[in-house]
């Protein structure tokens, strides 16, 4: 690697550290501020520590708001979406890569086109369709399009993994009398554990954070998910209850943070793959 020594090295370290602060400190600040009382927010030093640490904000958002409902809705949407994405994309990728048929490359191409599609273009048709078939305001209206939009990159990840599975081991299984379903379920699917983890954690973060579909298809409090629910604490005249907002952000970000720090390699590799496969 490029070796730089002495003076320039010190400058470099300072710059790196400053950039790190700009990137990370705001998140820490949200967390610290969630313990502030109302007086601390009207003060003239936003960077000050809470004058008195209080759990009032947490107590308020949990007992007065609908955060519990939002949590369970987000949880249902995330789990259902992810299970469907894993099953559908692992199976489809298996057909495309291992059961090569005449159009397998065209089918793969068709799926990969989806990576380029901006979500906005489907909003109007889906809104109209959902209204017609009566699933507007239901969690299904969030699950379906999120499965659809997650498939391209998930299929891509599975296909790239299956390329490394040699045909010989599949042949051995077939010799032992396995049918195609057994080859997939007993052998290929369990072998792809790492890809499954990547697809799960990447989609967990995307689905947990999804805003546009939730804001468009859900108007009923009962079916609201967390991202839209975070805007509950904006009162009349646009005044925000910052203590409650920051407490709600802190609580609802914990699941993604835990997943991220446990599986950060998978999260990062999944999200960069999503970004680079243009």
């Amino acid at each position: 690697m490029m070796k730089i020594s002495g003076y320039s090295k010190a400058v470099l370290l300072v710059v790196s550290f400053a950039l790190l602060v700009i990137q990370v400190y705001p998140l820490v600040w949200v967390f610290i501020s969630s313990f502030k009382g109302p007086n601390d927010f009207s003060g003239d030093n936003p960077l000050s520590l809470p004058s008195q640490y209080t759990f009032d904000n947490y107590f308020n958002v949990w007992s007065k708001g609908n955060l519990g409902t939002y949590f369970s809705n987000s949880f249902i949407v995330a789990v259902t979406t992810i299970v469907l994405v894993i099953l559908f994309s692992a199976m489809a990728a298996f057909v495309i890569e291992k059961m090569s048929f005449k159009w397998s490359q065209s089918v793969l191409f068709l799926f990969l086109c989806g990576i380029m599609i901006p979500i906005q273009v489907v909003l109007i048709p889906l809104f109209i369709l959902y209204n017609k078939i009566g699933i507007i305001n239901t969690l299904a209206s969030l699950i379906l399009p999120q499965v659809g939009f997650a498939l391209p990159i998930s299929i891509y990840l599975f296909v790239s993994f299956y390329k490394y599975i040699s045909n010989e081991i599949m042949e051995a299984a077939v010799m032992d009398g396995c049918g195609v379903y057994q080859v997939f379920w007993r052998m290929i699917f369990p072998l792809s554990r790492n890809t499954i983890v990547t697809v799960v954690v990447m989609n967990l973060i995307f689905v947990w954070n999804e805003f546009i579909f939730a804001n468009t298809f859900i108007h009923d409090l009962k079916s609201r998910t967390i991202p839209v629910g975070l805007m509950d604490y904006i009162g009349q005249y646009g005044l925000t209850d910052w203590g409650a907002t920051f407490a709600a952000i802190s609580i609802t970000t914990i699941p993604t943070m835990v997943v991220y720090f446990m599986f950060n390699k998978s999260v990062i590799s999944g999200m960069t793959a999503g970004a680079t496969k243009g």
């Binding site: 705001p26 936003p46 901006p118 273009v121 396995c178 973060i205 839209v228 975070l230 609802t252 993604t256």
Partner: protein
């Protein structure tokens, strides 16, 4: 073996669920959008076929459309500059750090995993004027108190102010993409250049840059198409205002469809956003290729 894998029925069973959901929620709606764009329709009364009227209105008379379009160009430029330039800078810094590289990467990437609603609210607070927010407070502390202003309602600054959070949150993503490209450069190429007396800057400009160019191009394309569909943060922070100074095509399209209930015109704009992204990709590829020769 071939016989087992050539099982048509199994192939269908495996492929159909994915294909159906994908067709129903991604591909078919695109075609519907194109179809709707030739109608005047409020979702309730009868659809009225009006040919290309939505498009002529869009390109001809609609000032807001062009305002949103030019705002979008500025929004995209700020975001791409932040994500790719700062991402590259941090990636270079990272190759020079020996200890704690993994921790640095992990922390740096953290904003990318937080919902855009939270990011928007965080920055609303950063930009706040009364009570004083982080940005204005910092300006005051370093003696630039005169510069402090309500960033989100300032006509000259609001657009930059809504662009920065979107740029900021994904710097880590591009840093990691570019970092992987930088460390994949074989060490002997670098050593050879060093022995020939190349300075750090020359080494970077003449050897590393050309080698990471393909990755750099992909990064620029992704940052551009990502920013072209940017919606959440501007929509939440300012909803296009004050006036139309932070109106972007996606926010304008969204309001046209879901507030004014003009589904036909909204669809025409949605179609334009797709075409615009495709043109941007083709244009960037062209530009990067021609630079090479």
């Amino acid at each position: 073996m071939d016989k087992v894998l050539r099982n048509r029925k199994a192939a269908l069973v495996f492929l159909l669920p994915a294909l159906l959901v994908y067709l129903l929620t991604v591909l078919a709606p695109i075609l519907w959008s194109m179809y709707f764009s030739f109608f005047s329709w409020d979702g309730v009364s009868d659809m009225l076929y009006i040919g290309f009227d939505n498009y002529t209105k869009m390109f001809g008379g609609d000032k807001t459309f062009w305002k949103a379009f030019s705002n979008n160009l500025i929004y995209v430029s700020i975001i791409v500059a932040m994500q790719v330039l700062l991402g590259l800078l941090v990636a270079i810094l990272l190759t020079n750090i020996t200890k704690g590289r993994e921790l640095f990467k992990t922390l740096y990437f953290a904003p990318a995993i937080i919902t855009s609603v939270a990011i928007a609210q965080l920055f609303q607070n950063v930009y706040s004027f009364e009570p004083v927010g982080i940005l204005n407070f910092c300006l005051q502390q370093i003696g630039l108190g005169d510069w402090s202003k309500p960033w989100l309602s300032d006509l000259n600054w609001a657009l930059s102010a809504v662009s920065v959070p979107e740029g900021w949150r994904y710097i880590g993503l591009y840093m990691i993409i570019l970092y992987s490209a930088l460390i994949s450069i074989p060490a002997d190429i670098e050593e050879a250049a060093r022995i020939d007396g190349a300075s750090s800057w020359n080494l970077f400009r003449s050897i590393k840059m050309p080698l990471i160019k393909p990755v750099l191009m992909v990064s620029i394309i992704m940052a551009t198409t990502g920013a072209l569909k940017g919606f959440d943060i501007p929509y939440i922070m300012t909803n296009g205002g004050p006036g139309r100074v932070t109106e972007l095509l996606p926010t304008y399209m969204y309001k046209t469809a879901f507030s004014s209930l003009d589904f036909g015109y909204g669809s025409a704009m949605a179609v334009f956003i797709v075409i615009e992204s495709l043109i941007a990709v083709a244009f960037i590829r062209r530009m990067m290729d021609s630079k090479e020769t």
